[in-house]
């Protein structure tokens, strides 16, 4: 089934039906990455640009592998290797890429709304790989996929997202995505890192990790950026670790079947203790491998056109 949308810009305007289509397609594509020859010819002759104007290792690698395993031709552009560093506007970048007649652009950009901006100026399908603090839809989709695989249906399940909600596109996309799938979402963090009226997005707010931990099915830890301390958004690493870090003592108070997730890269010893980071409950590597399958599904559904899965 084709998607209702031409672009993947945000979970916000993605229908539940499209989410399910992507997850189902990812399910059938996941097997490709386990083959000896990890490649299907589905997107042969299609061109995908990975426009990464902000540092990224795993998202970029994941999209690159996803495209290559579908046999698409890929071109990677990073800020330091692009005309952006010479002051080219995003409008001109869009027009230039448009003139190459590419099929899709995967964009990572520090400005909220940048992916939608690109979609306004280009015919290609635009896939948002993170735009400022706005959204990171493929991360949320791969998180849904991973959670689904371990917990089955997410309906009625509880997920707590812990840490810097304010600056996190992952948190925003996940609040919306897990709510759309019928899960209950809690956000937990120091007050300066909880954005205003986040309840209206469908999340319950708590400042107390210990209070919520016994009731949740998924603990989703966010990476804390140390420079936020200078803005007094959290007060010290010591205090943050004490109140919001996940260690085995704290985890012991959670349900037995709880799973831990993290979008990576993890700060071992800060938001997550080394011990928990290496536990089997921690799905971080599953998330990485799901990432490739989900991004293959997104690329296939948006640029695959009529050709079959081969």
């Amino acid at each position: 089934m084709p998607l209702e949308t031409k672009h993947l810009l945000a979970i916000k305007n993605l229908s539940s039906q499209d989410i399910n289509t992507i997850l189902e397609t990812a399910d059938s594509l996941q097997e490709v990455s386990t083959r000896d020859i990890k490649k299907v010819p589905t997107l042969r002759g299609r061109t995908i640009v990975n426009l990464f104007l902000e540092p990224s290792t795993r998202t970029r690698t994941s999209f690159e592998l996803a495209a290559k395993r579908l046999s698409a031709d890929t071109v990677g552009i990073s800020k330091s290797s692009s005309a952006v560093i010479k002051g080219e506007s995003l409008k001109d970048t869009a027009k230039t890429l448009g003139a190459y007649n590419v099929d899709a652009v995967v964009i990572r950009h520090p400005a909220p709304g940048a992916a939608a901006y690109l979609a306004d100026y280009m015919d290609a399908s635009i896939i948002n790989a993170g735009d400022g603090a706005h959204e990171h839809p493929t991360q949320a989709l791969l998180d849904l996929f991973t959670a689904n695989q371990h917990l089955g249906s997410l309906k009625g399940k509880k997920i707590a997202i812990i840490g810097d909600i304010y600056h996190s596109r992952v948190a925003r996309s996940n609040i919306l995505a897990f709510s759309k799938m019928g899960a209950k979402v809690l956000v937990v963090g120091p007050p300066g890192l909880i954005p205003k009226e986040v309840e209206k997005m469908g999340a319950q707010v708590s400042y107390d990790f210990d209070e919520v931990i016994p009731e949740v099915d998924i603990i989703y830890m966010l990476r804390i950026q140390l420079e936020r301390q200078q803005q007094n958004l959290f007060l010290s690493v010591r205090e943050y670790v004490k109140r919001y870090g996940l260690n085995s003592k704290r985890l012991a108070r959670a349900k037995d079947c709880v799973v831990v997730m993290h979008p990576g890269p993890m700060n071992r010893g800060i938001e997550i203790s080394a011990e928990v980071a290496d536990m089997a409950k921690n799905l971080v590597t599953d998330q990485v491998s799901s990432g490739v399958a989900v991004r293959m599904a997104v690329l296939y559904l948006l640029v695959g056109g009529v050709s079959g899965l081969g």
Binding site: K12, P112, P195
Partner: protein, 426 residues
């Protein structure tokens, strides 16, 4: 100069409490008589039946970009845009390049405006040198050169003691201070109103309190110094309450609101339209309702555009990189007529005599002997906003394509028809 009679219109002159069918006789560029019926020999007759005739509008908050950014607006194009919007007097903010913090800049603006000879341009001098909030500009020299008020518009003087001195000095010169109220520590490089919308869009928010806090401070400073303070572009419900309270205590406080803060709100921002990026930011629906109420009960004295021209290439950037501001001169009147459920005479008051009183300029009324700056408009005729027809050099408006009510028919400046049916009269 020949005589002219504007005949048969609905004449609205709020200063003289006139709102009735009447004729105006103009002689030698001045209003000679306003009567139910005027006849005079050798007078050119302008038929205004079915039209509203009122004083040319006064816009006390305009950004002309000359000197410095003549690619965005010049004194000439800004004046043309004003006239095309029915505005015959404008006050221009000092954030030019160089800043209008010196009498030479002030004089040069006045001279150029006189050369253009369309709208009257009243410069507003900078409170602080370079708008840096560190030391005061030579306010007396600026006043002598023609500055009608002082402002660091776009910026708040965060040093309260420095601002106190400015208040005292302005008071001694009989000039008001016009204050942009934004606590820069609280607004902290925010982009839009802080609320659910900023959270969903991942944009940094500016809380309403950033404005209200400074309004409260500046009201206190007005009390301390006795100086007149005018609050620019009020945007929140809390601000309206603070100003209402100050007026109850007879403090010398006045306030203005822009059409965009009255008629647009943050919920329109979901597409990251940079034409909606303004400072103060568009607020909630609840705030817009409070602003309309404040306008109605007299808490807010004036409507002003905060006309802020920006080059297309700057507004076409990603939202966080685009500058704040929208143009407004050519859309103010029809926006107000279309969207404000208000007695027309009260509306005209907010657009003419009230801002003229605040700035203490001779404009905004049709008293006998006053300069014949007159606007004739059709209250019911429809117009469609088309920015490609703007006389302003910049087109950064969110109203493009909007169908509005209220069409400018003619604009008379010093007794001469300068603008008629969408064209300038040579």
């Amino acid at each position: 100069m020949a005589k002219m009679i504007i005949k048969g219109g609905r004449l609205i002159d709020p200063l003289n409490k006139i709102d009735k069918k009447a004729d105006v006789l103009i002689n030698e560029g001045r209003v000679e008589r306003v009567e139910d019926r005027v006849n005079a020999k050798n007078a050119e007759v302008i038929d205004a039946s079915g039209m509203v005739v009122c004083p040319g509008l006064v816009d006390m908050h305009v950004h002309l970009r000359e000197p410095g950014r003549e690619d965005e607006e010049t004194i000439q194009t800004g004046c043309k845009a004003a006239i095309a919007g029915g505005i015959t007097s404008i006050a221009c903010m000092p954030n030019t390049q160089p800043v209008n913090d010196h009498e030479s800049v002030c004089s040069s603006i006045i001279e150029k405006a006189a050369e253009v000879g369309l709208a009257d341009v009243y410069p507003i001098g900078a409170i602080s040198k370079g708008l840096e909030g560190k030391s005061l500009s030579e306010m007396a020299h600026l006043a002598e050169a023609g500055a009608v008020a002082f402002s660091d518009d776009g910026k708040t003087v965060m040093d309260s003691n420095l601002l106190r001195r400015a208040f005292e000095y302005a008071n001694s010169l009989g000039k008001p201070l016009i204050v942009h109220c934004e606590d820069e520590n609280l607004s902290d490089a925010g982009q839009i109103n802080e609320s659910y919308i900023s959270t969903v869009l991942g944009l940094k928010g500016i809380p309403a309190e950033a404005e209200e806090f400074i309004i409260a401070r500046d009201i206190s400073l007005a009390k301390l110094s006795g100086a007149r303070v005018h609050i620019a572009h009020v945007s929140t419900s809390g601000s309206v309450s603070l100003i209402r309270e100050a007026k109850k205590h007879d403090l010398p406080v006045t306030a203005e609101v822009t059409p965009h803060h009255l008629f647009l709100d943050e919920e329109m921002l979901t597409d990251y339209d940079t034409n909606l990026k303004v400072n103060p930011p568009l607020r909630s629906k609840k705030d817009t309702e409070a602003l309309v109420k404040g306008l109605r009960d007299g808490t807010i004295d004036a409507i002003a555009t905060d006309h802020a021209p920006h080059a297309a290439f700057e507004k076409e950037k990603e939202f966080i990189y685009a500058p704040f501001g929208m143009v407004g001169l050519e859309t103010m009147l029809p926006l107000c007529i279309t969207n404000l459920d208000m007695n027309l005479s009260t509306l005209i008051e907010k657009l003419t005599v009230n801002p003229a009183k605040i700035l203490d300029i001779k404009a905004g009324n049709l008293s006998q002997g006053s300069r014949a700056d007159i606007l004739i408009f059709n209250n019911n005729a429809k117009v469609e906003v088309d920015s490609s027809n703007f006389f302003s050099m910049s087109k950064n408006t969110p109203y493009n394509g909007m169908k509005l009510k209220g069409k400018i028919e003619s604009v008379i400046k010093k007794g001469k028809v300068v603008f008629k049916e969408g064209k300038f009269v040579e």
